[in-house]
Subunit: 539 residues, 2 copies
């Protein structure tokens, strides 16, 4: 057999050769819709690679972006990786100190950024000594007359110096392709470095039916930002691989803007986190015109509420909840129906879609005890959720610490697996509540509480308790209309969970704080309410 390396340049090249006229549609940060084709994108990605090469960027050099989902970002992703450099997509929602930390940790040589981030970059630039070139992702007209940024160029000028005939180099498929930092709840962000091989394999996997099931006839709108794991969870790879139309929504992530794009462009598949979908569903329901051409959605980041799944399915949109993390490229498990699920009652099917699902081929999973021994698939035995496979991390970027345990990566979640091999997270290891020597699953309680009328969002944390070591505290964001009372929430929970799982108190807050990847920042809540039970006692 021909031994060709698996390189990301093959994706856009394939689309250019066999889906050249298929469109990429973007909402720009400036507002207007931009549309062109894979042929155009491929030509400009080659130009960009050539221009970077002329600027001195070589194999494995880091090239950073601060940008939303749009066509120039897509060109940078494919141009930088295709030439053998490393695309470092920075999450602009991080605080400046973290932005500076990761750009320096990565030693980024070039920073591409959108005009909306100009003030931010002006502030950061003095602290980014490795960055020798700043490129504003716009044309010359958008360049500021005066700026403190040294060596600032505009994107269109920069690529115009590049050669359209640039030939993608061939190199080892184990070469690094892109770098994403995960914002842990403690310590500095950690870098996850993907390889060309891992990216192409992950992409082949997610196009399968058992994962996302993508085809040339699809029109894909990734709401998840390209600076999240692996370029919008791999969708900016998968679209050219299958020749699907790609719709990039830019910075406007409000439900009305997304719904408008879905309608205008005939979107069939979207990807995003539950909070965005909740708003989109509410919008569809208010408008009363259905979900249009939308057939399927992929939801990840955290588990969707049953009411969200039901709502979309009523509109004829099938919901695939997938589980993953930056460290797993990200897709690891999928709730596409198993043979048993397919025959289950609608109620049971709904329940299974809120679970994390079953491993896709390529991602091996075990639920393990402290010694790494696999626990039974009985739906009860909770253990450490461990994964391994060719698109799973082996160690963080520039971190010598051994990460794997006997070849397995510990996700940090606790989970059970049932006899149909469906995984359900019971908790983040660090979020678990230990009360009187017994574990309480915060996720179970907060999922239930989120279903209580008058509750918009809910989080459960364990905080110090003089008698029980820790006891659960329920934090609730009430609905705007007819907000629930503490008493109502607690009686809603009664009988649904074990007595000793019942939160000792309910606290109402205006909003919960979410991390960059859509997870509630429980660390902060625990800090804020640390003394709630102990000071009550002493008061």
């Amino acid at each position: 057999m021909q031994n060709q390396p698996l390189l990301l340049s093959s994706l856009l090249r394939h689309a250019d050769r066999f889906h050249a006229n298929t469109e990429i549609v973007s909402r720009t940060v400036e507002g207007p819709i931009h549309r062109y084709t894979y042929r155009d994108a491929a030509r400009r990605a080659r130009q960009l690679a050539s221009a970077l090469q002329r600027h001195g960027i070589g194999h494995s050099d880091r090239v950073a972006t601060l940008a939303w989902n749009n066509y120039r970002h897509f060109e940078i992703e494919h141009g930088v990786t295709g030439m053998g450099a490393i695309w470092h997509a920075i999450n602009p929602r991080l605080i400046p100190a973290q932005l500076i930390y990761i750009a320096n940790h990565a030693e980024d040589k070039v920073l591409f950024f959108e005009s909306s981030f100009l003030p931010l970059v002006e502030k950061l630039a003095p602290d980014l000594p490795t960055v020798g070139l700043f490129v504003l992702m716009a044309d010359r007209a958008a360049l500021p007359a005066v700026t403190s940024i040294p060596n600032l160029q505009c994107y269109e000028d920069f690529i115009s110096a590049g050669d359209e005939g640039f030939a993608w180099p061939v190199f080892d498929e184990l070469s690094a392709s892109s770098l994403f930092y995960t914002s842990g709840t403690t310590g500095n962000p950690k870098g996850v470095l993907y390889s060309h091989r891992s990216d192409v394999l992950h992409c082949l996997s997610i196009t399968g039916v058992y994962s996302m099931g993508l085809a040339a006839t699809d029109t894909i709108l990734p709401m998840t930002p390209m600076f999240h794991a692996n370029g919008a969870w791999g969708f900016t790879h998968a679209a050219p691989m299958v020749g699907a139309k790609l719709v990039l929504p830019g910075p406007r992530m409000d439900a009305a803007s997304i719904a408008e794009l879905i309608e205008m462009e005939g979107v069939t598949v979207t990807a995003g986190v539950p909070t965005l979908y909740s708003k989109l569903l509410q919008h569809f329901e208010e408008q009363g015109r259905g979900a249009g051409t939308m057939q399927r959605l992929v939801v990840a980041g955290s588990a969707p509420a049953p009411s969200m799944i039901e709502g979309f399915e009523r509109l004829g949109v099938s919901v695939n909840h997938v589980w993953g993390m930056t460290e797993t490229s990200p897709c690891g498990t999928s709730t596409q129906p198993s043979r048993r699920t397919a025959k289950a009652s609608p109620q049971e099917q709904l329940g299974r879609k809120t679970m994390q699902g079953t491993p896709v081929y390529g991602v091996d999973v075990k639920i393990a005890d402290e010694n790494g021994n696999e626990m039974p698939h009985d739906g009860k035995s909770s253990g450490r959720f461990m994964v391994r496979g060719p698109w799973v991390l082996s160690g963080y970027y520039r971190d010598e610490k051994p990460l794997l345990e006997d070849g397995w990566f510990n996700t940090g979640d606790l989970a059970v697996m049932d006899d149909d091999n469906y995984i359900q997270l019971t908790d983040r290891a660090k979020d678990v509540i230990k009360s009187g020597g017994e574990w309480i699953s915060s996720i179970d309680v907060e999922n239930l509480a989120a279903g209580c009328p008058g509750v918009a969002e809910a989080a459960v944390i364990g905080i110090p308790h003089p008698q029980w070591e820790e006891r659960p505290l329920l934090i609730v964001v009430p609905s705007a209309s007819e907000p629930a009372t503490a008493k109502a929430v607690l009686s809603f929970l009664e009988g649904k969970i074990a007595k000793w799982w019942m939160p000792d108190d309910v606290i109402f807050v205006e909003a919960l704080t979410y991390g960059a990847t859509g997870k509630v920042q429980k660390m902060e809540l625990r800090r804020r309410f640390a003394g709630h039970y102990t000071s009550q006692k002493s008061a």
Copy 2:
């Protein structure tokens, strides 16, 4: 990222871990239906690998099979490849001289065979000096009391000596996995040696929607034999990869037996050549009970007639015609709808399904002139159909002759590609008819003729002609009921093809001879009718 080699053992291991209770159902050569699960298959494949290891089979040793599609054959495929030996599936339809040639060329060390091949193997055994062990794929009761085969064991005894706890070894993914010989029309059969890497990549590709779209909820019945390219075109890999139920039909390939299995087992997807589907369609139509649970079919080997596609689609079965050859693992192009096709009229869609379709990611295609220059995608410029990619052959087994032209494999077909990147074969390079300096496509004419009422099968060949160098001759197998006349066929063609493409004569025969891969043996027809125009002239 973790650098795990892509090994075939991961497929059955995945099914064993996460789809353990999903069934593999086989019709045995003895008649009865056998059913067990992936867990059982995995256990027995490990036992088999262990037994082979104890017998002295090592990395890259060749282990041959002469068998139909059934569970023991599935175990051998996965057991032999999983342990790092090479599975050599022999096509039992070859003539004895060819069987002997390829077993010796491969230097097979073990031969597994089914009881129906006992007389054949008794005849062949003296000429197979490298085979040190013969294993009858049955239990002890089936062993003949007297046999001329030296060192004959039965399968069940053989594997019972193996260790169920055998651990799949880890080795280089470029290691060879399996060997299939293609029966060329001239010369000795040539060996195509697959690797673990090429097989896993091919399998990931065919599970995608743009190819075959397979999921855990499918029940797959490969009618194509496991001794064809890559174990039933990769379906015996894809089923465990996605966790689908697998139905192996054994030797009974008549339409009634296949239809019975489809009904009994709830088959959703089948794979096979057009001749089998024609019979299956006729059976469904005669029975008048529809196609049951069958949702989709994959047809390959040669192009399906429009009437066959229409017939199945009337029964609610969608048809995916894919193109490939042993040298391409085999899947290379697919007629899953493009964005344009999806919006085309039913008539146009039908026409496109008889074409060879568009390249799937991983298989690069060009239509090239004699110098390798790519020809325009205009639907008119016919050229050599060239392919390359990580599951395309680089050279035949034990054949030093350089095969690739500048990295491309020449399929030997002539084709055009249209501006929607759909490929249409115009001819095998060697079947092309050259009349008065102009080319005539035999495929176009025979496809048209096959649609004429009263014609069951049709073939067009070019034979020597005193004036025009070659002229087309139409060979027809008439329908049993209301057979067509020569005049009727020719007037049916009139106006549908260029005047000079019109066959000069029509000859009726009882049957056409097909090669092992379902293609009409035109070589033989050309030999038989070589003097038809010249002797007519002289007569």
